[in-house]
Symmetry: none
DNA sequence: ATACAAATGTTGTATTTACAACATTTGTGA
DNA sequence: TCACAAATGTTGTAAATACAACATTTGTAT
């Protein structure tokens, strides 16, 4: 790469520190090059994850975005798709229970972006914070022992408190999807999930395909108690058979 | 402003949390309104400083932070001294209740660093995270409506749950220290504090001198119910008189 | 100096957005 | 119900951008 090229790109990045957004024409004039050159620079810098492209210009890379090396992490995109697929299933819900885990946080972000005036019962701070951006959503946090690793409330208090509540739909994650039901790695989490399933009229399990046929210590429900499995790839073999026998709807139906 | 208008603008802001930049046409299609409406929404939100406009769309506001973080930057040294002064008062405590606010987070950090095997009842995520670094501390989070501004659990659930608990000592912050007692800016916070005072054998109030003689809507306790005031400068005048008459010990006694 | 590749510029066209003016719909209070 | 204002939609035009194809300049190795 030529020296002049890289120094120009450095200047573009430096400009972005001051100004939130820049326009192609603006940069072209300021750096005395053609708009096409700027466009190529911006595309190159976008490829490197150093900035974000907009129509007509670029903006500084935002801190909350995943780091560059994580951009190729397949499961982030999968979770986003799973989250998007959940929304149509809960349009009429008024009271939701949302469990913990990476996928449920994605679902919470999606809910915050697209739903209004719902009440969400949660035991994960990540979920609560994702929902909090939408002020029309009422968030009821469950009590419990705070687990810093999982960022959740767990234990007897959590379960006991849940038993006085009732919700339309529970949306739960899972560490593994075995033939006899979804399971979690942590016994305490499993106990809370079991209570959540019991207190909701309907239960959705969200999990990407990497969880297929894995078994963890805490099986928190039998498949017959689960109404929907929202995932990114169609399950096969014994797992598919178990889901079908227990009338678990698989979403999305086709890839 | 119409209801549909504000909820649409809320959705725009929420969507912006997930995606760094959005385009007018994209939003118009997604929200099923014309591009002109979106344009007007974006201009209005820009006017309020809630987002940044770009050519063709908008991006999340970049520069500013929630007001909660601002408070953390004021009187940091004072709060550190106050937190250090709290520790000698609670060496024998086994079960603590800790309220919310910037000063109590400092106290929590101090406790995490110097104490072992205590149980802490909390309604603030910040306090929980500060304590979580010490694995010997058991953290019981209270339930409640999650308030994103204060990062706390509030409301009837919180109070009701507290009424089944008991603690050696409560450590509470305050927005103001009036002549008839400590008060908070938020009514809901005050209600929770009142319950905390009632459920603890002893109550400490922690507040820096900027709170002296300020009065806020929710007086959550009378001075006679408070055992210690831990602050960084000796109070004077009417406040000092009120504290002495109600036998509130002032810590540290000297600067 | 020559040849080749990289970088940049130029041109033309299709898309997209911005903006203003005006029409229509919706909401609200008398 | 009527009247009025707010909110939203529609239309036409100007301006800006995106994109592709090709031309030109610059850099570099032999």
């Amino acid at each position: 790469m030529s020296n002049v090229k890289s120094s120009r790109q450095t200047r573009i990045l430096a400009e972005l520190v001051n100004t939130p957004s820049l326009r192609v024409a603006e940069l072209a004039q300021q750096l005395d090059v053609s708009t096409e050159t700027i466009r190529r620079d911006l595309d190159a810098l976008t490829e490197l994850g150093l900035l974000n492209r907009t129509y007509g210009g670029a903006i500084r890379r935002l801190s909350s975005e995943p780091p560059v090396h994580e951009r190729h992490n397949l499961f982030i995109a999968e979770r986003g798709r799973i989250a998007a697929a959940v929304l149509p299933l809960i349009t009429s819900a008024k009271v939701l229970i949302i469990g913990s885990g990476a996928t449920t946080v994605h679902v919470a972000q999606r809910i915050a972006a697209q739903m209004q005036d719902v009440t969400v019962i949660a035991h994960s701070f990540g979920v609560a914070q994702a929902l909090a951006v939408n002020r029309t959503i009422k968030i009821l946090m469950l009590p419990g022992s705070y687990n810093a690793d999982e960022d959740t409330m767990l234990g007897a208090h959590t379960v006991a408190f849940l038993n006085n509540l009732y919700a339309d739909t529970a949306i739960l994650g899972a560490s593994g999807l075995g033939n006899d039901g979804p399971s979690d790695a942590l016994l305490e989490t499993g106990a809370v999930y079991t209570a959540m399933v019991a207190r909701a009229a309907r239960t959705l399990v969200v999990a990407d395909h990497s969880k297929f046929s894995l078994v963890f210590p805490a099986r928190y429900a039998a498949w017959r108690q689960i109404n929907h499995l929202v995932t990114d790839e169609p399950p096969e073999g014994a797992l598919l058979k178990a889901l079908q026998e227990n009338h678990v709807a698989i979403e999305p139906v086709s890839t």
